[in-house]
Amino acid sequence: MYKYDDYDQKLVDERVIQFRDQTQRYLDGKLEEAEYLPLRLQNGIYIQRLAPMLRVAIPYGMLNAEQLRKLAHVARTYDKGYAHFTTRQNVQFNWPTLESCPDILEELAKVEMHAIQTSGNCIRNTTTDQFAGIALDEISDPRPWCEIVRQWSTFHPEFAFLPRKFKIAISGSEEDRAAIKVHDVGLQLVKTDDGSIAFNVFVGGGLGRTPMIGDLVRENLPAKHLLTYLEAILRVYNQFGRRDNKYKARIKILVKALGVEEFARRVESEWNHVADGPSTINDNVIAKAASFFIDPDYESAPSEGEFERQREQNKAFSRFVTNNTQAHQKEGYIAVTLSLKKTGVAPGDVSDSQMDLIADLADKYSFGELRVSHHQNLILSDVKKSALFELWQILEDNSLATPNVGKLTDMICCPGGDFCALANAKSIPVAEAIQRRFDDLDHLYDLGDIDFNFSGCMNACGHHHIGNIGLLGVDRKGEEFYQISLGGRSGSTAGIGKILGPAVKQDRVPDVIESIMSVYVENRIEGESFVEAYHRLGQATFKERVYA
């Protein structure tokens, strides 16, 4: 994992001083509301329905035990004892006071954390695959590149006031687990014919009001040019992106308006001026960045111990292994996903004592490191198979072993109307009603892998467009309704789901989901997932049943 040196630490410390001063000037009335707004946003502070919300960056989802303990401490001391992990691999606190935010940031800086650019019209936290560095299908580890991009984007002087927010995601594996095609820039690491590393650069993806899949703007960009090329993209966007209408200000609108060829031409022409400049990344720099992400001290092919026998003999453990673990590059090891989707708990929420416990487990079982996934779960990425049973028992006792990863009840879900000022409808109680309806595990497993994504309004924080099932809160004359779309996908075959029909009332949602599932179960062919069946059968079959 990346480790700060004095330079990094100093920048973060200076940021705390700067922000404390800005907040003081605001509280003293020297900074107007409108002037303070972007400053606090660029420190992750939104003013929400009930209180300010502080979003803390977890760069590309990598977290260590000490940091998690600090988050637990912040939750306990400044908040109501819990935190919320987001779809952008970050973490949010829902109840701090504005006055306490500088103190929180000072505490976070002590463990190499910050809230820089977690919000606002700037380059946001770069995200990646939660299984980076351990996935079997990895082409090259994306994390060194994420770190290089993190540094480059942090306080970038030219791009602090873009037309709108800007999100970059990097995938280093064959299967895209970082949803790169729904980001402003999506970077796919590839190996060229001569074995060198390059990027396929997708631009103009995004969700929100106008969901779009990114276009391939540059194929096989030699890796050393990454930063200068990004600079050229951002420059074209900064100069030509719309600023008259915030709903048309994302880069996707510019790419569509210009056409991808013209957009690419402008980027190339801008790039000609900066290519091979000082920001070109030489091999030493690449090697140094990579050196932070070397393998931990794995034992060489440790014995699996009783693993297979335990799996055979304990059904609950076996379910957990099937659903919540992922194969590892290293023999004898396995990656373990802690589901933050227990029925009755808001998706992504975790308490201070759970965080302390998870930190201890990370120390004991996984080299002191963790990952946050964009599915709002936590991952212990390097667990010895021989220790899994013991770990599982502890997780089970602490409500962290819900064996539903990748299944219908492992929903991505935004905070919705309970917390968010922009919401049209609540999301948390509806998510819970659905989880209750599908609480029978055998039924849940029979339905197979399903991405269920839920947003409380069209801002699409819950990625509903790319859920196999997407649920969207809408307002019908002051009443909360829910619109269902089917067939969306993330990953390499990313696509936007199609709206099934008129929105339905809150109490009907679980019934509707159940009808959709029964159409699937009745019509599926051997081995076919829900989303595959949907695309084969077509929308009409589902629509007839739901609106019969």
């Binding site: 920048l11 002037e35 306080f155 006031f161 100069q239 000082p278 920001s279």
Partner: protein, 162 residues
């Protein structure tokens, strides 16, 4: 007389900005709109000095090379949250090699001065209702930076990693 920050000092501002479409003054030191200046629609002999100001929706072409003939170029921030002027400043300094005074005008506030400096501005007409003295103290909130920019030709990685 209004004041500006120039090269880290507070000095009196002797230039008069001529608004777009406004009538030209007959004497003094004037900052003309870029298009007026490019078109040459003025009598330079009547002025003590001529500079140029640039609206932030300008797209430079090769005629920007000529800006090196003037000693002051100002770029407008109609609102501080509109970041186009940062790109224009860098283009002017890096691509057109502009060497003179580069001034930020308009909604210029202390919390953005660091970014402006890094993009090549060396002169700041801080908004009149704000304290220019306080702004001066906030010029450099960070002692270093990751990126290469005008104040620092190499990125931090070149310094520590190569």
């Amino acid at each position: 007389m209004p004041k500006i920050i120039l090269n880290q000092d507070i000095v009196e501002d002797t230039w008069l900005k001529v608004e777009l479409e406004a009538e030209l003054p007959t004497s003094g030191k004037v900052l003309l709109p870029y298009t007026t200046w490019l078109a040459g629609e003025f009598d330079s002999s009547s002025y003590e000095a001529v500079g140029v100001w640039i609206p932030n929706d300008t797209v430079f072409d090769s005629s920007a090379d000529k800006l090196n003939q003037v000693s002051v170029v100002a770029i407008d921030f109609p609102v501080f949250s509109d970041g186009r002027a940062y790109t224009l400043a860098r283009q002017l300094r890096e691509r057109f090699d502009y060497q003179g005074e580069l001034r930020a005008i308009g909604d210029v506030l202390q919390d953005q001065l660091f970014f402006m400096t890094r993009c090549g501005f060396n002169s700041f007409a801080v908004r009149e209702d704000k304290s220019i003295e306080e702004a001066l103290t906030a010029l450099k909130p960070f002692s270093n930076a990751y990126q290469a920019a005008l104040d620092k030709p190499q990125p931090l990685f070149a310094e520590r990693w190569s």
